[in-house]
């Protein structure tokens, strides 16, 4: 159900953006996934595919999918524990300077997603979560941004608790449709 809602939202956003004839950005990024307050995970890697579409004013929407994996946790004297994989897909709303323009463009983001966490020996979890963060898009051309971003993920988990992590990525957006 969560998956269906997110897919519907993403499709609606892209359809609305296409109707305004505004450029749509296609992006990829990669970087590091850091556990926050999770001693049983280590620092790992993160890869993302996303689409950026102008909504209104300074707002843009980004349907996205992230493929992450935590690194091994190492506790002295007992060896290590393999890190979990963390895949999440959802929609971010960004607020900042106009997209598809040359220049230095800081922005903030707020997102919702479904997070899938998997590891041998643990129960596989599909949980909703949200994230916030910000970044800077450096428009080197009107149709090309280099994007630096930090994102703090908060994922609901068993026992009214939450799992937190930080994603730090660098990537590019290529805008089409202008």
């Amino acid at each position: 159900m969560k998956r269906l809602i997110l897919i519907t939202m993403a499709a609606s956003i892209l359809t609305a953006a296409a109707a305004t004839a505004a450029p749509i950005g296609l992006g990829v990024s990669g970087g590091a996934l850091l556990p926050a307050g999770q001693e049983d995970q280590g620092t790992g890697s993160l890869f993302a595919i996303k689409v950026r579409a102008h909504l209104a004013g300074r707002f843009a929407a980004e349907p996205n999918i992230h493929f992450g994996s935590f690194g091994d946790a190492d506790i002295a004297g007992v060896g290590n524990r393999k890190g979990s994989s963390l895949t999440h897909y959802g929609v971010d709303i960004t607020w900042g300077a106009p997209i598809a323009a040359v220049g230095f463009k800081p922005y903030l983001l707020l997102g919702g997603a479904v997070y899938n966490t998997k590891r041998d020996g643990d129960v596989t979890s599909n949980a909703s979560g949200w994230s916030f963060g910000g970044g800077v898009a450096v428009g080197v051309r009107s149709n090309l941004d280099v994007d630096l971003r930090g994102r703090f993920n908060i994922v609901s988990s068993e026992g009214s608790a939450s799992k937190k992590s930080v994603g730090l990525t660098i990537g590019v957006f290529y805008y089409v449709g202008r």
Partner: protein
């Protein structure tokens, strides 16, 4: 454009403050050494002599556990670090049972199997006259029935009883045993 910089900077500062509060709830890994014993001696169990069998664990001696004990949200899992030797000329299947009542004091493995103690580690085969070293990650494949004993882990006080199959012919020396409890809670 300058206004956007200032707003982003302000939000980043607030975010940092929220972040600092959020991480008070976290997942921590608690370890407790069970063997060798306080005198530095290995633990030996046999089907004929089980006098060293009960291994009491008290996580309340661990500073991190004390910090989180009052608001444990969930026990994520239990794992072990184990170094054990099979002293006989036939393979054995090694097990560990968990008993919440530290006064139970079972006299032999038959009593343990008949009791309410839960098997927490099982199916670990130690070949004849060989040693095994199982680290944290490897131990996860031998863990059984976590839901049955989560409550006992939350109290922090319980007994572990190592055992082996066949019940009527085993002689195992445990050179090192560390219990690893992963929990999510709030300080």
């Amino acid at each position: 454009m300058k206004r956007i910089y200032w707003i982003c900077a302000a939000v980043a500062a607030v975010t940092a403050a929220v972040f600092a509060g959020c991480v008070l709830t976290g997942t921590v890994v608690i370890t407790a050494k069970v063997a060798p014993d306080a005198a530095g001696e290995s633990i030996n169990i046999t089907n004929l002599d089980y006098s060293e069998g009960e291994l009491e664990v008290n996580l309340n001696n661990n500073a991190t556990f004390k910090d989180y004990k009052d608001d444990i949200r969930t026990i994520e899992n239990i794992g072990f670090y184990l170094e054990a030797r099979n002293n006989l000329f036939a393979p054995v299947t090694f097990q560990i049972f968990l008993e919440p009542d530290t006064a139970a004091n079972y006299a032999n493995t038959e009593d343990i199997v008949q009791s309410r103690a839960q098997v927490v580690l099982t199916e670990l085969i130690i070949p004849a006259r060989e040693s095994v070293v199982i680290d944290w990650n490897e131990s996860m494949q031998y863990i059984s029935g976590l839901d049955e004993f989560k409550g006992a882990l939350e109290t922090g006080v319980f007994s572990l009883y190592p055992a082996a199959v066949p019940r009527d012919a085993f002689n195992v020396t445990i050179d090192s045993l560390v219990v690893i409890v992963t929990l999510t809670g709030k300080k």
